[in-house]
């Protein structure tokens, strides 16, 4: 099965440049990518898009990434969606926060593309495994 027939990846970031880079990179690797620029938009489109993986920026105006993660993970239909946080720093407190929000992984910004690639790949793999 070609990758782009598989479940899409939803990238949520308020920075259009960042969105563009991530989308281009992931699409080049054969993933189907959809984007949202606010947490609210992401949530309102979850049902329609049914992503398997959500790449979620932490620092966003309005609802921040933690909040969005929590809402997604507590939704009965989306509990198994993988959530990878994009965070500006990664100290212990941040990671604990991520854990409480239900995140599965994190990537520290600025994003290194090869890291993005491996993280996305392993999370998509984890998705194929039954929980």
């Amino acid at each position: 099965m070609a990758r782009n027939e598989s479940v899409p990846i939803l990238v949520v970031d308020d920075d259009p440049n960042s969105l563009d880079i991530v989308r281009t990179f992931l699409e080049a690797r054969g993933y189907r990518v959809v984007t949202a620029s606010t947490g609210k938009e992401a949530l309102s489109r979850m049902e329609e898009l049914r992503p398997g993986l959500v790449l979620l920026d932490v620092m966003m105006p309005g609802m921040d990434g933690w909040e969005v993660a929590r809402v997604i993970k507590s939704h009965p239909d989306f509990g198994s969606v993988r959530i990878v946080m994009l965070t500006a720093r990664s100290d212990f407190a941040d990671k604990q926060q991520g854990l409480r929000s239900g995140a599965d992984d994190y990537i520290v910004k600025p994003i290194r593309l090869e890291e993005l690639g491996t993280r996305v790949e392993r999370n998509m793999k984890a998705l194929e495994r039954p929980a």
């Binding site: 489109r45 329609e48 993970k73 212990f92 854990l99 599965d104 992984d105 993280r119 999370n123 495994r129």
Partner: protein, 545 residues
């Protein structure tokens, strides 16, 4: 499917017509803006297609379509309009020029949605849908108090009498602390469902049970009409209250287990309201509510008092038993030591959390701690093989107890304190840190070792772990469950392991239940492991009487 559209873009119109034909949908096109002149057209359509722009008031359109249960698809001339549409909360949008295939897919999706929405729309509740978001509890789907007030008033005026059942749901804070807020939400949802089931089962039926509401995030009220003579009503009410309480408890126990059920309490109180033309109806209803609530809370008080009585008996008669949960060396899978776990013998006090909560309330924490330590040491200290350790749970508050603080280990039957590890959990906040550290130092001098319990659960951050300088760091179960597929947890545990090593401490992974979890913690270098995968808690080899 019926589609109602107002479009000016030619490409969109063409695509729309073609896609509608493909789906066999009925397409109605209008010339002017959709809401012009208070038009109520959207009410008849499953899908409303509008073009973004000055002509249409999207917010208003969304409100109307939401109310009647139609989907709203908005065509946008640019990304900015898409954003506006998204913020307005429209169901779907398409960027112009319209891609025919995409539009086709969107229409198909709307059709699916319509199949679900139509019966609802045709329901007489249509006018209530508008308030749904605000007035119905998201978690349980039950109406909230404002909805109820109106209906209760109607009823009271019609029937002259109304009974309120107040279902007071209490949980020990520990449910959230141990199992997370999601679990508590689950339990609440179970309760709500159980109330509805009870309603169906008891055939209180539409005649008698009027409605259920969910208020103040944890309590429910239920308006009912029991009728007939006051004596019969009173009797029936008491029976109903008891049945409801029992039913809810049973359901929670069935679905979430005895441990969680033990941490939750359900108390039902009743109040009756009679119409009194001299008093404002709302006030009557509120009075009835308060009466019912008071009854429920006093049932709770009574129950608490009874539990305190049980605890006193427990302490006097020594009605506790200790189970020992082995801790193994991750690399060799050999038994490294045993953690003593206390349980009450009385059903209500079987859960250790309840045992301690009740002790806390009754100010009997020290007494309970003494009894449990004594039993824990007695049961195991002579069973330990060379090099094995006994792990004892200690609350920070225990250190305020002089008989614990100043004890001679020999009084407890401990010949070699270095074989004993005191596990400290920070669930009780440590108020006076310097003093606490002094106490710890004194214990350390006598040879005792220390473990920080529940690390990573939010109670014990790296800071406080560094302050306590423990010999062991016990990772909370929330960090371990499904660690094999959660990379964030893996990273956190890795951090903990390297931190522990730099402090000369060992890490213990708690709650390892699956082989994959074990393999993962092993790979991450976790020194010790505890969990059902290898051992369940068990009684000591030779129980002493």
């Amino acid at each position: 499917m019926k589609i109602l559209a107002h479009v000016t873009d030619d490409g969109l119109r063409e695509a729309l017509r073609a896609s509608a034909a493909d789906l066999g949908a009925e397409l109605q096109e209008v010339d002017g803006p959709l809401l012009d002149g208070g038009r109520s057209l959207p009410a008849q359509a499953d899908l409303v297609v509008a073009e973004s722009g000055d002509d249409e008031n999207l917010d208003r359109l969304r409100e109307v379509t939401n109310r009647v249960g139609s989907s709203l698809l908005v065509a946008c001339h640019g990304l900015e309009e898409c954003e506006t549409a998204a913020l307005a909360g429209v169901d779907d949008w398409i960027l112009l020029p319209a891609d025919r295939q995409q539009l086709g897919a969107q229409l198909a999706l709307a059709r699916e949605k319509a199949a679900i929405m139509r019966p609802r729309r045709e329901n007489e509740r249509a006018e209530l849908l508008r308030y749904e978001e605000l007035l119905y509890d998201k978690l349980t789907g039950l109406p909230t108090l404002p909805v109820m007030m109106e209906r209760a008033r109607e009823l009271l005026e019609r029937r002259g009498e109304l009974t309120v059942l107040y279902i007071h749901f209490v949980w020990y804070e520990k449910v959230e602390e141990i199992y997370g807020w999601q679990k508590l939400d689950d339990v609440l949802a179970t309760t709500a469902t159980a109330v509805k089931e009870f309603y169906a089962r008891e055939h209180i039926g539409s005649e008698n049970l009027m409605m259920v509401s969910h208020i103040a995030d944890d309590d429910f009220i239920l308006f009912t009409e029991l009728g007939t003579t006051p004596e019969i009503a009173e009797q029936r009410l008491r029976a109903l209250t008891q049945q409801l309480e029992d039913y809810l408890r049973t359901r929670i126990e069935e679905l979430h287990g005895e441990d969680i059920a033990a941490l939750c309490g359900i108390y039902v109180g009743a109040g009756t309201i009679f119409r009194n033309p001299k008093i404002r109806t709302e006030r009557l209803i509120y009075r009835g509510l308060r009466e019912a609530e008071r009854a429920a809370r006093s049932a709770e008080e009574w129950e608490r008092a009874r539990k305190v009585g049980e605890l006193k008996t427990t302490l006097r008669e020594g009605l506790v038993f200790i189970e020992y949960h082995p801790i193994i060396v991750t690399a060799t899978e050999e038994i490294y030591g045993y953690e003593a776990l206390a349980r009450g013998t009385r059903k209500e006090l079987r859960s250790p959390e309840v045992l301690f909560e009740v002790a806390e309330e009754a100010n009997l924490v020290w007494e309970l701690g003494r009894l449990l330590r004594q039993r824990a040491v007695e049961g195991m200290i002579h069973e330990l093989k060379d090099g094995q350790f006994l792990f004892l749970n200690v609350d920070p508050k225990d250190f305020d107890d002089p008989t614990f603080r100043d004890m001679d280990p020999k009084d407890l039957g401990i010949d070699d304190p270095s074989r004993v590890v005191l596990e400290i959990t920070e669930r009780t906040a440590i108020k006076d840190y310097p003093r606490f550290q002094e106490y710890l130092a004194a214990f350390r001098k006598r040879g005792f070792r220390f473990a920080v319990d529940d690390a990573g659960s939010g109670y014990a951050g790296l800071g406080s772990i560094a302050n306590l300088a423990p010999d062991y760091i016990k990772l909370d179960i929330s960090l371990i469950s499904n660690i094999d597929s959660n990379f964030l947890k893996q990273n956190l545990v890795e951090t903990m392991v390297s931190f522990a090593e730099s402090q000369g401490a060992k890490v213990i992974a708690e709650g390892v239940e699956r082989r994959e979890e074990f393999e993962t913690v092993k790979e991450l270098g976790v020194h010790l492991t505890q969990g059902f995968l290898f051992h369940r808690p068990k009684y000591a080899g030779k129980p002493r009487t």
